[in-house]
């Protein structure tokens, strides 16, 4: 299959073009370097041609690990005979920023004898602002075709398809040869070409400046930041609550409908306890993952995240991090794995290492089902402050804040212990124009994230709940859980968790959660399902409340899950991106830290209440 490479600098609209050209749901982010993985898909109009979306990079002279990966990958791809064409996306409104990169790409393509076409994106902005742009003149100067396009309204796509389909029209337009041009010459030429061909006039800066004066002002900007973060956490509970209730009713209703139809008692018990009790309990929390991903996507695509990185830069420096760590850390609120990949955009190896240390402590979406379950168990659904603040949302904000605080304390302490200023890198960040996010790719991305979450975590949860059910059901047919194989195993590990006020059932759930945190919910659902026999269709929250779990133990569980590194996938990715030693030492130290902190929390809460 022939492949076409799509290259471009961050914020040039490359990912939007990719979406339009393939109809795929590639992430569209408005922050430099967000495209860490390489996406690909057949072109919608040319299904025989695969379009490959490269990570955005400002230059082929990398200064960050992320850029180095992109450049190495590009060099390998250009040497591939199946690569038939290269499309280089440029933001026409800001040609100065892109021109050097365009010339570097043309030079590399000429080295590898690959045809290259420049896609001058944002032609709609040029048209709307009544500016002029000369694609023919630029094409003559560069020696390659230049096609004005608009990812927003799909303008100029027919010439792209023609160009890609027909190699003849993709030949160089003039005999300009950049093959031997050194970087200094390219840089000077880029400056001259940009000065000659850039549309004259202020396109977006004035409107952007008005918003930046608010969002980046010393007092109001900080307040806005905290307000946006507070709304972010409130929305996770309040917006998803109706859908969560609906899913819960659906799972429960479906269970009550299906289970009586199963003639075999053992199979009926299995379906009720393991499937509806275990996996069903986990599915209830998927709407929260959807809202979480959606809200992060809105912040990214609107351009606010880059401002948040700027606001956080100075405070994060105190803790050995950088403003560029903010995006991986916030991504870590969704999932640690893409966050660890996103940390490649942190230029300094030392600050990248600090970011690795902090990411697993960020309250990821896998923790959310556990937090939501425990909060729903102990905190009423009421609201306060004239209905503006939900107590459950506030509790979630507090536990999220606790995780972040621990992350900063850890990086701060490690940073102080290994201070070496020479390894820190300067902070240079493009602030993309504010844009109204497009709903469709955001919703599709949130949907994909949920699908990924359900299929990946769901498999583990199903496997674990099956094992837990078999161990809990036999040898006495679920008659006495305490005398089952699971009960025997649970009583062996019980002394470890007894100081936290947790009985063996919670001990088993914690042990299984080391595969993935959310397994805790599925395991508890299965255990209480077996134990509850005829009332096993009750929501898990009701089971936990009926079990008499003390408040101190609930808080201890929250603290334990906030700190412990219970995710096999995260440990593996940490080992791959950092080192095996780093991953194992983090696993061990966070586990010990989690246990000690939760023990302290249990003792303090038990004394107070």
């Amino acid at each position: 299959m022939k492949r076409v490479l799509l290259l471009g600098s961050p914020n040039s609209g490359k990912s939007s073009l990719f979406n339009r050209l393939t109809g795929l749901s590639q992430r569209v982010a408005n922050y430099p370097g967000i495209t860490v993985d390489v996406a690909s898909g057949p072109m919608a109009s040319l299904p025989d041609i695969e379009l490959v979306d490269f990570p955005g990079t400002y230059s082929l002279e990398p200064i960050s690990g992320e850029e180095a990966i992109a450049v190495n990958f590009l060099n390998e791809a250009l040497a591939d005979d199946n690569v038939s064409h290269v499309l280089c996306v440029a933001d026409t409104t800001r040609l100065e920023k892109c021109m050097h990169f365009i010339l570097q790409v043309i030079r590399e393509c000429q080295h590898h004898q690959k045809p290259v076409t420049v896609l001058a994106n944002m032609s709609d902005v040029i048209r709307d602002n009544q500016l002029t742009f000369d694609p023919v003149g630029l094409s003559d100067a560069l020696g390659v075709p230049v096609i004005p396009v608009s990812a927003r309204d799909s303008q100029g796509f027919a010439p792209i398809i023609e160009c890609v389909a027909d190699g003849a029209t993709a030949q160089n337009t003039t005999d300009r040869n950049w093959r031997e041009a050194p970087n200094e010459i390219l840089r000077g030429t880029a400056q001259q070409l940009a000065a000659k061909f850039s549309p004259k006039g202020d396109v977006l800066i004035n409107s952007q400046l008005r918003l930046d004066r608010f969002f980046l002002s010393t007092a109001l900007g900080g307040l806005a930041f905290f307000f946006i973060m507070f709304l972010f956490f409130q929305s996770i509970f309040t917006w998803s609550a109706p859908v969560m209730d609906a899913v819960e009713s659906l799972v429960s209703g479906l269970g009550q409908l299906v289970v009586p139809l199963i003639p075999n008692q053992i199979i009926a018990d299995f379906v009720a306890d393991a499937l509806f009790g275990g996996v069903g309990a986990f599915l209830v929390f998927v709407p929260q993952i959807f809202v979480l991903t959606l809200v992060i996507g809105v912040m990214e695509d609107s351009g606010y995240l880059a401002r948040a990185a700027l606001i956080c830069h100075r405070p994060l420096r105190v803790f050995g991090l950088t403003g560029k760590s903010f995006i991986p850390l916030l991504s870590g609120v969704a999932c640690a794995i893409p966050a660890i990949y996103a940390a490649r955009s942190v230029d300094s190896p030392r600050q990248r290492m600090m970011t690795y240390l902090a990411i697993p402590l960020m309250p990821c979406s896998a923790r959310l089902p556990v937090y939501a379950l425990l909060i729903a168990t102990f905190i009423p659904k009421d609201t306060g402050l004239f209905g503006l603040v939900g107590w459950q949302g506030l509790a979630l904000f507090c536990i999220y804040f606790f995780g972040m605080l621990v992350a900063l304390l850890v990086t701060g302490l490690v940073s102080k212990a290994s201070k070496n200023k020479q390894t820190e890198q300067p902070f240079v960040l493009e602030l993309p124009p504010y844009r109204l996010p497009t709903a469709k790719p955001l919703l599709r991305n949130a949907w994909n994230r949920c699908q990924q979450f359900v299929t990946q975590a769901g498999k583990i949860i199903l496997a674990v709940t099956m094992v837990v059910w078999v161990l809990g059901y036999f040898p006495n047919g679920g008659a006495d859980l305490g005398q089952s194989w699971l009960g025997t195993l649970g009583h062996i590990v019980e002394p470890v968790f007894a100081p936290l006020g947790l009985d063996w059932r919670y001990g088993i759930a914690i042990l299984t959660s080391f595969l993935a945190r959310e397994v805790f919910v599925g395991t508890l659902g299965t255990i209480f399902g077996i134990e509850g026999s005829d009332e096993n269709m009750l929501p898990l929250v009701d089971h936990i409340q009926a079990s008499g779990l003390p408040l101190g133990s609930g808080i201890a569980l929250l603290v334990f899950f906030a700190v412990a590194l219970q995710c096999v996938s995260t440990v593996v990715i940490l080992a791959r991106e950092g080192s095996t030693r780093l991953a194992l030492s983090m696993l061990l130290s966070y586990l010990v830290g989690a246990y000690l902190l939760s023990l302290m929390a249990f003792q303090i809460v038990s004394l107070l209440f």
Binding site: L209, T218, L310, V428, E430, L431
Partner: protein, 90 residues
């Protein structure tokens, strides 16, 4: 009377002030010097200081229709010649 533009570091520009890039200091790593030049901070280019968020946070500059945030380490190593008086922030 000396009419030559006053030379200073980019970091010393106040919001609303414009200046022309004249060169780079030695303290900026070569890779970063190359990167900011690729962004348009070339000798002769006109740069505007847009915002100073305060508390030592990176400052915001516009150059060639793009907006960048630079911390002190970078902005103090970019030398500029002031070409316009301070315009009041509107």
């Amino acid at each position: 009377m000396n009419n030559a533009p006053a030379a200073k570091a980019l970091w010393d520009l106040r919001p609303g002030e414009a200046a022309t890039v004249t060169g780079f200091g030695d303290k900026l790593p070569v890779s970063y010097q190359g990167r900011v030049m690729e962004f348009g901070f070339q000798p002769g280019a006109l740069v505007h200081c847009l915002l100073n968020p305060g508390f030592g946070a990176p400052r915001v500059y516009s150059i060639c229709n793009s907006v960048f945030s630079l911390d002190k380490e970078v902005a103090a190593a970019v030398f500029v010649a002031v070409s316009s008086p301070v315009e009041a922030e509107s």
